[in-house]
């Protein structure tokens, strides 16, 4: 049964199965949730829980094995290039910028990928340069940037086309305290001032407590919790709550994928 809603992200029974040594291993199983425009949602779960697989299905890189997914009203795997104009994507573990080029040239390439006209681009770039404090390293080759500078550059690249939905996979991984604060500040202001919907995965509970009004916890590919922070926390500390949640979910038949083993952890 399909229920019509207005969510910017809607999944129903979303499932992705990988075949590994002739065994069928579900990376994501029967995921159903809806994210409304303007929400700020954290997607949490241990390594190998299926967070990245879920995100790849949302942006159209991976085709679901079964179930339904709509993002900005589009079917991601079939309408990937159209969807790309509605979403900004940041992968914390890898840059979306060109290693050898100065940041400014990387952003020029991104501009042409989205077909943005020169004047709109200049205005937007000036705005992002102020917001993300890019000015000191706009002319520096990306390979020479610190991790924090690079992440700010990546955020600029994801925001150039002013997407209403931002999807970030571990955007604060490896960042120092100051860079984390900058990234969090930018995400927060985008969400509150512009109404940008944000979905991020993270292992940093500081991100969650500071930013996310709602969390989805997945473990072994299944949705374990969907609600606000207080409900997740209960009387525990955040750490204790998350630890409890991760350790009590039973495995469902298959051995859980371990780090670095699966094709899409």
């Amino acid at each position: 049964m399909l229920i019509e809603t207005t969510g910017i992200i809607e999944t129903t029974g979303l499932t992705r199965v990988f075949t590994r040594r002739r065994r069928r291993v579900p990376a994501v199983a029967d995921l159903t949730f809806t994210i409304e425009p303007g929400e700020f949602v954290g997607l949490l779960g241990p390594n190998g829980a299926g967070k990245s697989t879920t995100i790849k299905m949302l942006i159209g890189i991976l085709r679901p094995s079964s179930g339904r997914v709509r993002v900005a009203g589009l079917e991601p795997s079939r309408q990937r290039t159209r969807l790309a104009r509605h979403i900004g994507v940041v992968f914390g573990q890898r840059t979306t910028l060109w290693w050898d080029l100065p940041l400014r040239d990387s952003l020029a390439l991104v501009r042409h990928l989205y077909g943005l006209d020169a004047r709109a681009h200049a205005r937007r770039l000036a705005e992002l340069t102020g917001l993300l404090e890019l000015e000191p390293f706009l002319r520096t080759p990306v390979r020479q940037l610190s991790l924090g500078q690079r992440m700010r550059g990546d955020l600029a690249a994801a925001l150039l086309h002013e997407p209403p939905l931002l999807i970030l996979d571990e955007p604060t991984i490896g960042l120092d305290v100051i860079s984390k604060a900058t990234v969090r500040g930018v995400l927060e202001s985008l969400n509150t001032e512009r109404g940008t919907t944000v979905l991020l995965t993270t292992h940093d509970l500081g991100d969650v407590e500071r930013l996310c009004r709602r969390v989805l916890v997945i473990d072994h590919g299944r949705l374990g919790y969907d609600g606000d922070l207080d409900g997740l926390r209960g009387d525990d500390t955040m750490e204790a709550a998350v630890t409890r949640l991760f350790s009590t979910r039973p495995a469902h038949g298959e051995a859980p994928a371990r780090d670095g083993q699966g094709p899409a952890l």
Partner: protein, 266 residues
């Protein structure tokens, strides 16, 4: 924004970026030119000792070499970056490309676009023109147009082979060398009259991997020579049709490959 438009815009940014190091770009281009010029020199040296190769004269061999080398130099410039797709898959960069609203085929092909590959073009064109001038052929406008059309068709065929090779890397990520056998190998193969090769190899390059249509078949028409294998004469006019068919097959292979793509971990 159409794919051609996107390609040109992105290539423009790469050229501007490379021009910030003009000496480096000039040296790299020169290296390519010298490399290709050595190929031409090899032909000239052979003809210092003999008057014919497999019955073909020096201008004829230069014409064959020049047409093939021009087509492959153009294809290499346009889509040569495709051979790095295996590395893009391994590094996860292809995932990044898939989040952008431009065909990943265009993005991979234009990635790190460099005019240095055009360095191969100068010796190729020189060989073509010197060969053409030395031929015992009346260069009517029609024949010139025929030659231009078959070099363009040859460029499309060579580019298509690059695309098929790239698509194959979705299945075998480390297959870059295997596809190079057909791309750079194809360039070497078509540089000499196919009459010097075993009949089965010529049949293979006529009917399976259509390298014979890059230059050999249409050049037989220009040179007004019988086919050593006795293949029908209409094949000499088939290059544009073969180019379209090859491009269509390449597009199907690319789609099939992309469909199999499963992304990398995390």
């Amino acid at each position: 924004m159409g794919p051609v438009h996107a390609y040109l815009r992105l290539a423009g940014v790469w050229c501007r970026a490379l021009l910030q190091y003009p000496v480096s770009l000039a040296m790299l281009t020169l290296a390519q030119t010298v490399g290709a010029a050595l190929d031409v020199a090899a032909i000239l040296i052979v003809f210092a000792h003999t008057t014919r190769i497999a019955g073909f004269t020096e201008p004829e061999v230069l014409f064959l070499y020049g047409t093939a080398a021009t087509a492959f130099a153009l294809a290499d410039t346009l889509v040569g970056s495709l051979e790095r797709i295996g590395a893009h898959i391994r590094s996860g960069w292809l995932d990044v490309m898939l989040t952008r609203p431009v065909s990943p085929l265009v993005q991979v092909a234009v990635d790190r676009f460099s005019p240095r590959r055009l360095g191969k073009l100068a010796p190729a064109l020189a060989a073509l023109l010197i060969g053409a001038a030395g031929l015992d052929v009346a260069w009517t406008p029609g024949l010139v147009a025929f030659t231009v059309l078959f070099v363009v068709s040859g460029t499309v065929i060579a580019s298509s082979i690059w695309v098929v090779g790239a698509a194959f890397q979705f299945i075998a990520v480390d297959a870059a060398q295997a596809s190079n056998a057909f791309t750079y190998g194809g360039k070497e193969l078509t540089s000499y009259p196919m009459a010097i090769y075993p009949r089965d190899l010529v049949r293979f390059t006529t009917f399976v991997v259509p390298l014979a249509f890059v230059n050999w078949q249409p050049a037989l028409y220009v040179l007004d020579r019988p086919d050593p294998l006795g293949l029908p004469e209409w094949l000499r006019h088939a290059s544009p049709a073969v180019a379209l068919a090859t491009a269509a097959v390449a597009a199907l292979c690319w789609r099939a490959g992309l469909r199999r793509y499963r992304s990398t971990g995390s």
